[in-house]
Symmetry: C2
Amino acid sequence: MTSTTYTSGVFALETMDVPGGTETVLRGGRHLFPLLPQAFAGVRRIGVLGWGPQGRAQALNLRDSLAGTGIRVAVGLRPGSRSAADARTHGFTEEDGTLGDWLAVAADSDLVVLLIADAALAAHHQEIFAVLKPGTAIGLSHGFLLGHLRETGGEFPAGHPVIAVCPKGMGDSVRRLYQQGADINGAGINGSFAVHADPDGRAVDLALGWSVALGSPYTFRTTLRSEYLSDIVGERAILLGAVHGIVETLYTRYRLAGDDEVTAYERSCENVTGPIARTISHSGLRAVRDGLSPSDRETFDRAYTATYGPAREIVAEIYDEVADGTELRSVILAERRLGARPMSEIGGSPMWGAGEKVRARRGERALPVEPFTAGVFVATMVAQIDEFAERGHPWSEIVNESVIEAVDSLLPYMHARDVAHMVDNCSRTARLGARRWGPRFQAAYDQIAYPAAELPADQSLVAAFVSHPAHEALAAAAKLRPSVDISVA
Amino acid sequence: MTSTTYTSGVFALETMDVPGGTETVLRGGRHLFPLLPQAFAGVRRIGVLGWGPQGRAQALNLRDSLAGTGIRVAVGLRPGSRSAADARTHGFTEEDGTLGDWLAVAADSDLVVLLIADAALAAHHQEIFAVLKPGTAIGLSHGFLLGHLRETGGEFPAGHPVIAVCPKGMGDSVRRLYQQGADINGAGINGSFAVHADPDGRAVDLALGWSVALGSPYTFRTTLRSEYLSDIVGERAILLGAVHGIVETLYTRYRLAGDDEVTAYERSCENVTGPIARTISHSGLRAVRDGLSPSDRETFDRAYTATYGPAREIVAEIYDEVADGTELRSVILAERRLGARPMSEIGGSPMWGAGEKVRARRGERALPVEPFTAGVFVATMVAQIDEFAERGHPWSEIVNESVIEAVDSLLPYMHARDVAHMVDNCSRTARLGARRWGPRFQAAYDQIAYPAAELPADQSLVAAFVSHPAHEALAAAAKLRPSVDISVA
């Protein structure tokens, strides 16, 4: 069981009630920025390696938060990186020493934040470790490297703090909500932190300071392994893979039932990314069902109870394979096989054409929650929650990876730009995972769940949903963040 | 590159022309049975362990072929096996020493044929090896154990010949075609053989004798590793997994185009297992396209060229993961996870209800080849052929694993009993593989191939199909077996 309690010499902590106990959380906010120099004691220079969505967002948020403290944030890029121009337009330049070669920046930093792509990290981490000054803290935002080291028998270098601060959302939303936070204090993307190595006792406060500086409304503790598993499994399940499978099957189902393309899209994809996501974000999971008429609720229940079992089977399978290292091996094989070839894109299937027409007519009417769609989606979400709970993840992590990250970060983006765009544009590892597992949900729902949804709902599963401990955990987490609809350009 | 030439001190061999060279083949037939005692020199007792479809078929064929030679065939079962009763009804009894405990039978045999399930083999191979007399030949019909030993660092015991004879078809068809062979000499299921260890020079003739005794129309050489890879990949691709994905997507496509359930089923599943399979079996792959009207041929070409690329990508991915051991790990994880729980069945999806109606009205009219369906199916088959060729498999193995096994063994069974029945009833390993990969074909075809099929056909891919070296290899293989439609009860 992951330890979820901790103490801080810098920040005032709170206790959050979760099923079965409590977890320590740090509530963030700009009023804490004056404490940052204390949290970052011993760190004069931060080197952010990478300028992808996370790299860019974190470098900008850190620089803004640490303005006036004398702590310098520099960006390190690999030689020939095409990101240099964009970094310069954001004020990171060679001239003032805030932009440079990644090894040079790493060698000059007291905290190195490794935000380069997984494949690059796997290939180059040894070189980066080799140039670090003694005692430099190694920062990660993702557990991939730990998984890779396990698979390859490698290690983090001794004597360095190894910490992770993992925003529970996409890079773009980490920056955008931080900027909205100038007006609404506490807006941001939640973060988890983990301490993998702490040779000098600084690690917890350093991690907390980093998380506060990123703008996290609340920060909870986990372990690098737990983060890794929940993150890699989550993106293959409810965060991306399953979502894609779900909307494809529902679209086809409604078309086969006689709907035209636009109606089918509204009842499937638009419904998930729109009213269903919004209801969960504002009012929690149970509200999706509570807000339905009695006859719609009966439809929800049938869809929910028919989907839960197949969903749970697949999430369990994904989890086993991620935990076992098997999934990671397939990612590495895929990278080798794909080489420079781009992955084929999924945005060409018929439903996405309908998406454009649907977006054009948004606002004409408020779309009601489609009960069958909601039952399928919520069942998948709860299946993931239950699998993570069974595997011993902290409740903060469970609700963030299974609910909050979806409804506050990913689904709003998909609402603006569609699911296919998301699948075709997220991280390499996530794309590969979504392509492997999305079809499993699609086939299982098509062939097993939807036929079973013709039968009356299983009342014991309905009861388990209604009384689920996750609602309590989700409500507690919701209290700790302002309800801010991310504004997506 | 696998060595495909060999010599025999017992049988007259032939040379078959294949793209890029020749392969040695042994043409089988009952007229060779008098040579069996010579081939089995040193073997007085054969122990067949296992009474699954392969165990039963091989024990019966061997006993029939060796009748009157004094070479005894006994069946060994694990304690408490529920197969004992069925074995007795087939004349294997404890009383005459032809039925017993598997370890006892193994200890008493000069050739042990290991036909128990993969999971049991993984768990018990050490015990079986431990009881063998010195010099007893170990016989396999499947490369799984080799893969397992590689993954776990195990070995075959030294001093024992290790041979494989692998019928390229399901157990039931191995027996049934053998029985039909009483009337039509040479009817049977082709086999490959491999020699993994040959301490005393007997191995090749022993393997050939075994293959002839099983009734193989022709026997070609491969390696255990090559057999394993082509077999495990094949069942995840054109032999089972892809077939399932293909018929599901095509059924849905025709339904969305306005077909009623029965018509959609006839244009998809029934077409693949019926006229398409029969045409390929009788006349080869090119004949499927040649037999179409010009406008249907244009439809075939569009479907073929749109499907080839996505199919090839997935087959390459499957191959990498089987070769790497990753797929085997997932099978082991799945067995652990499933335990005694049965796998959910796929036979409940809507299309299978239509299947019953379609079978009821068979014979009312001859179903023409559906051009779009044929293009998709043939493209998938050719994608597998090409991937195996690129990976260096012998051409005999390529055409058997990619074409002949499908059209002569598996698709006729699916025609009689439907694809879902097949998927829900084949070997554990095959079922798990079909469930993992069928959905990948389904999603890729749905989302990438079929949208692309709206575009004009890629003429270079069409030309590559028309001039494909596989047609020559398939024709050469066809000459070596009688064209016998397997009679399925």
